[in-house]
Structure formats: structure tokens, C-alpha cells
Symmetry: C2
Subunit: 353 residues, 2 copies
């Protein structure tokens, strides 16, 4: 098939030196180890001519570092939104010459264990354990075998692992502020959770809890009380439709804070059914910045999940973990929060006070 790979021995031979010398020069340690200029040049020239590239498998065996990191998620690769997380991680890794192994667990703990094993068998330098949606997870014991980071997830039990999550509380604040800034003070309804802290969908999504906290905090500070909150079992379009429809049958809201874009899609349909215009009659703000948000008419103003940035950040944090001295047991479960930017589009109208 291909003409056998060029090895260090080949380079050494054409440069007329020992493999040791060639290795020294190519690893940049020639200087400190007193290799002559002449020899250094010969080696460099030979390597360039032969297009030598070290065999990373071999290096991995000798040094234990494979310039590879494992990315395990429940089902991240499959969804557009969370796919960006992989992309961010991919690029950040590539910038440092690292490759990514990916694996999906489907939420199956046994599969997770298997993947972790498979990656350790391949001597990955570190592992990113990601969740598709922000939540708390049980950290598998096997994670202890290498530097690791939790992405879009928090440890259920106290853990020394650092985690990277979107700043959902601040996102809640931002959404609420967007409405307040537009002059809305009354008739603000929450679709998906609320109005009280305990009114949450089942499943313990971190997003629900924290978005609600942020929203309530900002509204409270402004002396505004949400006109209503509406919980549903799952944040899908059909619930957005049903909830909003039920709401419209009783009263006429001024603004909706939908807990995600899929709910907002349903809400749009309900508003349309009742002949109400967005944002003329009702303003809508939402969360996630799902691709449909910019396809909806009018385009939806939404607080974006920064998936790409989350992925990058996870790699950054992982590298500091890898760099950390193995003895040094510092960094106890630090939580890194990535800001969620608001995408201002067309679904909020300002209302004169």
C-alpha cells in the first residue's frame, strides 16, 4: 500500500548520526545537550527531506502521552445545539495538536464504563464528560484514572473534578432585564416554570432552576411581580402551544418569558391562533438560541446557550488539569460558568411607560 513510514532511524541514517542524536535535535534539546550546529543542521535537513513525522503511537508508549483526549457524552453529537460543544472542543484541542476520541453513552452507565475503559486503554491524556443538557451527574469511579472535566454538568456528589457550565442564573437575569428595559412591568407570564421557585418541571434540570432564580431576582429588584407561571412536564412545542392557549383563554398577557425556544415556537402558534401579533400585542423572550429561533417570524429574541464556548472552555480547563502536578491535589471541584449572550432579534417591542 503506502511506502513504509519514515522513522527516526531513517532520518538518523541519512544524516549520518545515531538515532539518539536525531531525537535530541528534533526534540529541541540539541542546544542544551551540546550538539554541534553542523550536526543539528544535517538532522534537520534530513528530517525535512524525508518528511519525517514521529509515530505518536510509539511516543505514547514511551512517554505515556498520546496527545489525545476523550470526549464522552450522553448524546451530544446528535443534536445541533450540543454538537457545537464538540466543535468548540475539537478546535481548541486541535490548536494544541490534540485529537479527540468521541463516544456516546445514551445515558447507559455500563456503556459509559466501557467507553471510559476503551479510552484509558488507548492512553488518553484526559477526558471530558459532557451532558447534552445541563444537569447533575454521578461521576463514574473510572474517571479518577486521568485528568478530567465535567462539561455542561455538575457532580451529584462532591468531587474534585472541575466543571464547565453555562451561567444560567445570569441568563435568567438578562432575559428579565430585556423585558424590563423595553418597559414591560405587568402581564409578564412565565412559560415552562414558575412563578414560585418550587414550580419546576420534573427531571431536575439545572436550567429550569437557575433561569427561574435569575428571572425572579431581577423582577423582584424592579418591584415587578410576574403575572403568572406555567409549568409543564417537558419543554416541547406542544406544551408551549397548550399552555399559552390555556393562558389566552383567561387573560391577555403583555409579555412571555418562555423557558426555551421550543416552548416559544408553540407559544407563537397559540398567539397566532388567537390573532395576536408578536411583538405588537405580546413580547416574547426565550432561552437557548436554537436554530429555529432565527427561522421563526418574527425572529425570536433569545438568550443563547454558548455551546461552542463551553466546548472550548472545557478543553482549556482540561489542559490546566493535565498540566497540574500529579502530586498537587489542588483545584477542588471548581465550577467555571460561561456567560450566555442574548441574541436580540424581533420579538420584543418596547412599551411606553
Amino acid at each position: 500500500m503506502s511506502p513504509r513510514r519514515v522513522t527516526l532511524a531513517d532520518v538518523a541514517k541519512t544524516a549520518g548520526v545515531s538515532p539518539t542524536t536525531a531525537s535530541l535535535v528534533l526534540s529541541g534539546r540539541g542546544r542544551e545537550l551540546r550538539i554541534s550546529q553542523d550536526v543539528e543542521q544535517r538532522v534537520l535537513k534530513a528530517a525535512a527531506e524525508l518528511q519525517y513525522r514521529p509515530n505518536i503511537v510509539s511516543v505514547g508508549l514511551r512517554t505515556g502521552t498520546t496527545r489525545t483526549i476523550g470526549f464522552i457524552s450522553d448524546t451530544v453529537a446528535t443534536t445541533r445545539l450540543a454538537g457545537d460543544m464538540i466543535k468548540g472542543a475539537l478546535e481548541a484541542a486541535r490548536e494544541r495538536g490534540f485529537m479527540l476520541f468521541i463516544g456516546e453513552t445514551e445515558g447507559d452507565a455500563e456503556l459509559e464504563r466501557l467507553l471510559l475503559q476503551a479510552m484509558h486503554d488507548r492512553q488518553v491524556d484526559g477526558i471530558i464528560l459532557a451532558s447534552m443538557y445541563t444537569r447533575t451527574i454521578k461521576v463514574p469511579k473510572a474517571m479518577a484514572a486521568a485528568p478530567a472535566v465535567l462539561l455542561n454538568a455538575l457532580p451529584k456528589q462532591p468531587s474534585p473534578l472541575p466543571s464547565v457550565v453555562p451561567d444560567e442564573i445570569e441568563a435568567g437575569r438578562v432575559a428579565a432585564r430585556a423585558l424590563l428595559d423595553a418597559g414591560h412591568r405587568e402581564g409578564i407570564h412565565l412559560i415552562g416554570a414558575g412563578p414560585a421557585r418550587r414550580n419546576l418541571p420534573a427531571g431536575g434540570s439545572v436550567a429550569a432552576v437557575e433561569r427561574l432564580i435569575g428571572i425572579r431576582e431581577v423582577l423582584a429588584e424592579a418591584g415587578v411581580k410576574p403575572a403568572g407561571g406555567h409549568v409543564c412536564p417537558d419543554w416541547q412545542p406542544e406544551y408551549g402551544l397548550a399552555l399559552t392557549r390555556a393562558l389566552l383563554e383567561k387573560e391577555r398577557p403583555q409579555a412571555l418569558i418562555c423557558f426555551n425556544d421550543r416552548l416559544a415556537l408553540g407559544a407563537y402558534q397559540a398567539l397566532d391562533d388567537f390573532g395576536l401579533k408578536v411583538p405588537g400585542d405580546v413580547s416574547v423572550v426565550s432561552f437557548d438560541d436554537h436554530p429555529i429561533a432565527s427561522w421563526m417570524r418574527p425572529q425570536l429574541t433569545t438568550v443563547a446557550l454558548p455551546h461552542y464556548e463551553l466546548g472550548r472552555k472545557a478543553v482549556d480547563v482540561l489542559f490546566t488539569e493535565i498540566g497540574r502536578d500529579r502530586e498537587d491535589d489542588g483545584g477542588q471541584g471548581e465550577v467555571h460558568r460561561v456567560p450566555m449572550p442574548i441574541r436580540v432579534r424581533e420579538s420584543i417591542a418596547s412599551r411606553s411607560a
Copy 2:
């Protein structure tokens, strides 16, 4: 950090035999090489007790096989649809104990070269080169270095590489048949390409060409002539909206064949603007089975891109490539076509003849 990995030497020692013997037993060659039952049992027991797992990096160095395959795409991981392709590949690979490296090129040839290098440096056993949307690509020379498969892509120049693509011609036939079966014979408009073979969007998408062929073939066989075809530069919702709107200003179609779901989304909006109901007034059939297809109201009937199956198939084909004897230069650029299933939903109404 972790207690050093258990090695073959450890197993050998606790079993009281040489590493050679342990290796023989564990690789299943103990039988043919006349290792006694007793020793075999001791080794097996020791391996189990110590939870021995071979270091794949080491095996890779010695045997050249790393049980790893590389998956390079232009930007596949990021889109939901094509993300399924990765998922299919991932699962098919895992079933055989293989892991996937993934990389994205962003269409950058230099980056592609770099990724290919990085993967070869890591001794991957094979490579899948994937495209987000079906098209012809220039096969990089570096692909020759290992078994490889083209996924969702065809070689621009003749190439010995096999490829795996969706069967778009048949998809075109299926879509057209769906309309014919529902009794539509007139007023069928094509949104996105046609009516003649040469009326195609720029960019040379394989989907456009082949879907059109299939559609025209089936309509022609039934003696039906499309009432019109409408080309646009890109298959985005806004063009679907504009094209359909322009069409509706002139006439009242009976059915639309949209060349993808995003166009269909725009068409829905235009129809709604004109007060026309789907499917009562106008039937719509489309392609891709994008997630929005089932969110639209009424839900869109569409011929699905079988991304998951494509991914699996690519891995299957890659394994036969890997299995192929290196001397044997058989299999010259075989093209594997994966069927596209129609998702019958609510957007086609039957019309009595």
C-alpha cells in the same frame, strides 16, 4: 494518581509463568501452541483477578493496528442531521471494539491535510471522509496511506475508494409517487429546482440533480407534466417563501414538491399568507426529514436522509476495506446507495380522480 496499570508482566508473574505464555493464552493461541489446561487456567484467573486489560498503544506499536478509525468531515458534527451520521458510525465502530477520532475541516484543504496527517501519525486503521451534504469531492492524496471510505460524497476524479451515499434518485421517485398515489396529476410545482434537468441551483449539489431525475422519471412514466419548476440560489426558508409567494401571485398550485424541508418551511409561510391550507388546498412533499418537519403544522411528509444508516454503512464498508488483502487491488470505487425512507405525515391530501 491512579495505581499504575496492570501489565502483561504482572499477570505472568502472579500466574507464575513467562510473559510469552501469558500473551499466548490471552490471545487465544494457547490451544494451538500446546499450553496445558492448568497453565491456561492460572493465566486466565490471574488476568481476571488483576482486571488486566492490554495497553492498546503498545499493541498498536507492535502490530500496527490500533482499533481506531478516523472520521473527517467538512462540518458534520455541528448539524443535527449529519450528526446522526457520526452516531451511526460511532455505534457500528463500537460494536467491533473500535473508537473514532473525529475532525472537522471547515472545507479547508490544508486543514484536511493536517487532520489526515494527525490521524496517520496515530496509526488509525482506516479513515472515513464525510461531507455534510452529498456532493463530489477531490480525494486528497494522503488518503492512499490507509483503507478509506467516502461518506455522503463521490470522488470528483475516478478513484479506487468506495463511497456511501443516499439513494437520491429513488428518493425523487418516492416523493413523486407519493403525490401520484394521492391522485395528484396536475398543478404539481417543483420548488428548488426544475422543471427541466438543467434547472439547478449553483454549487452542483448531487441531491438537486438526482432528486430531479427521480421526480421527472416517475411523473413522465405516469404521463404527468410538472406545472412548473422554480430554481433558487440556495435552499433556505426565505427562498421557499419568496418562490412560493411569486408562484401564488400567478396561479393556484395543487401540490408542491419542495426540494428540502427548509424550502417547505418557507412555502408553508407563503401558503399561510395567501390563506391556503395544507393539505386541503395544497399538498406538500419534501426531502431530508429535518427535525422541523415534524414540528411544522401540519406535520410535513418528507423523504428522509438516512444519516444514521449512512454512518453505519460507511463503517461496514470500511471494515471490508480493512479486511481486504493489501495486495488485492480489487473493489474499484464501488458506490453503495442507502435507501431513503419516506416519512408519511400530514401534508399530502388525496384528491379523488
